[in-house]
Symmetry: C2
Subunit: 284 residues, 2 copies
């Protein structure tokens, strides 16, 4: 009986796109932990979801979501993957959804304040605890500090690393994007809502000959890292190689590094550096 009580509560995975929801689901399967995938119309990969215990809802149906979670006796909740931000017109709110939207209307906000409002609403209207993915899977989900793999950034990259970090942090203050591409001292492209893959893709014609560019991805200062951590994975490495970038810089203990082994293996093979930096350390 003691063992039974020490079981963690049932986990709901609020499921967006990308590899993280799957990793969390497999973690639950491996640990024998009860879980439920809560998926939203137009947001999640149907094939993956069909293989796991799941329920569907719509964005804005917050009351309905909380009822589903209550019915399934969910005790903890994690946001996982990337969510498309719907327009106001696409949101079909129920009572709680309308309450959430009413608080937002007329306010200046980015993705971050939108999600913080949602968490507050969940916590005020249920007993469910909102957790970060790394508090479930473990802290090694986050990029460590220093060079990952075998490729070291040579000195010629240092100024671009420092500049990119500064620009990404400055952008973060006004709740814009998390990633920038820098080359030869110049910011080539800045992410807003297009996503990092599209950012890299569109930088290709903007990159010049000579010393290679780099991707820098930092956490926004005010970001609620429980629900909206920037993520890097194998696809980011593949895209960066395709664009001819020389390396990827990510905030250590801040950015989620998915498929770490495969990402590092590919980066090593192709000569791309992977570097975890803190938000204020000296780079040299």
């Amino acid at each position: 009986m003691v063992l039974m009580n020490s079981q963690p509560p049932k986990l709901a995975i609020l499921c967006g796109r990308g590899a993280l929801p799957e990793r969390l689901a497999h973690f639950c399967v491996n640990e024998g932990r009860d879980y439920l995938i809560l998926a939203f119309e137009g947001q999640a990969d149907k094939e993956f979801i069909s293989k796991h215990p799941h329920a569907w809802s719509s964005v804005g149906q917050i009351q309905q979501c909380l009822e589903i979670l209550k019915d399934h006796q969910v005790g903890e909740l994690v946001f996982a993957g990337k969510f498309n931000r719907p327009s106001w017109a696409e949101i079909k709110p129920d009572r709680l959804g309308a309450q959430w939207m009413a608080k937002l209307v007329g306010k200046v906000f980015g993705d971050d304040s939108l999600l913080r409002g949602l968490i507050k609403l969940i916590e005020e209207n249920s007993q469910i605890k909102v957790l970060s993915p790394e508090s479930i899977i473990g802290h090694d989900l986050l990029a460590p500090r220093g060079v990952l793999g075998k490729v070291n950034p040579d000195e010629s990259y240092f100024q671009d690393i420092i500049h990119g970090r500064k620009v990404a942090q400055t952008l973060g203050i006004v709740d814009v994007g998390q990633s920038v591409i820098v080359q030869q001292g110049l910011v080539i492209a800045v992410e807003a809502i297009e996503g990092t893959d599209n950012l890299i893709e569109r930088s290709i014609p903007l990159l010049k000959k000579g010393p290679k560019g780099i991707l820098v991805k930092m956490v926004k200062p005010q970001q609620d890292t429980r629900v909206d951590r920037p993520t890097i994975g194998l696809k980011t490495v593949e895209q960066s190689l395709k664009a001819g970038l020389g390396g990827i810089v990510m905030e250590a203990e801040g950015v989620i590094l998915m498929q770490a082994n495969d990402s590092i293996k590919l980066a090593d093979r192709e000569g791309l550096f992977l570097l975890g930096v803190t938000d204020d350390e000296e780079i040299s």
Copy 2:
């Protein structure tokens, strides 16, 4: 003789792309002012240049440029139009060009510090005065404060205007871009080096249904407005309409408004607002 002496010195127009070099050339023709277009390989429109007194040089050939200007007895100089930033590899420097590059190597810089270094070098090595386009053509080249034309931004735009202005200013501090597109409280796209036309173009699939987005263009705080003023013109209005934007916000007395009559006429006809704001006024 007195009248002869009161003639302004010969003006060199350092010629990039866009409508501004042509406007300056026509201004000189109309005023009977001596002028010379200094064009750079791969930077300027050959057809336009062929119709005016001109000379060619290459980026990095600063000494050669100064000699051309001296040979033509140029006394004043204006940067006009948009210049493509070449990669280090493409610059073929002469002695002064190398000196300019040597000062820049290893520095973190954007377009702005690059141009400031160039002006300093010109002023240190010649008697030529670098002027702003509006000090030649007149201050009405710049966007005025307030609503231009007949379309007023309704209240629903105010938050996006305020937010866009703040984000554009914040970006300017780290010498990134000058323009952002905002819709429904969210920054849709941020300009780095792709140019405003490309910024608008790539925002099209990112814009949502519902209240329209806006383009906001501000001057960077540290920008040397003699050589690098952000510009808006008929093409910006056309592109904005194509993207379904609701208005264009520009820094009053900061952004150059080209083809003002045609731009306002088109905006009026299609219901797009044009608004000049200062960098700190209250918007209401």
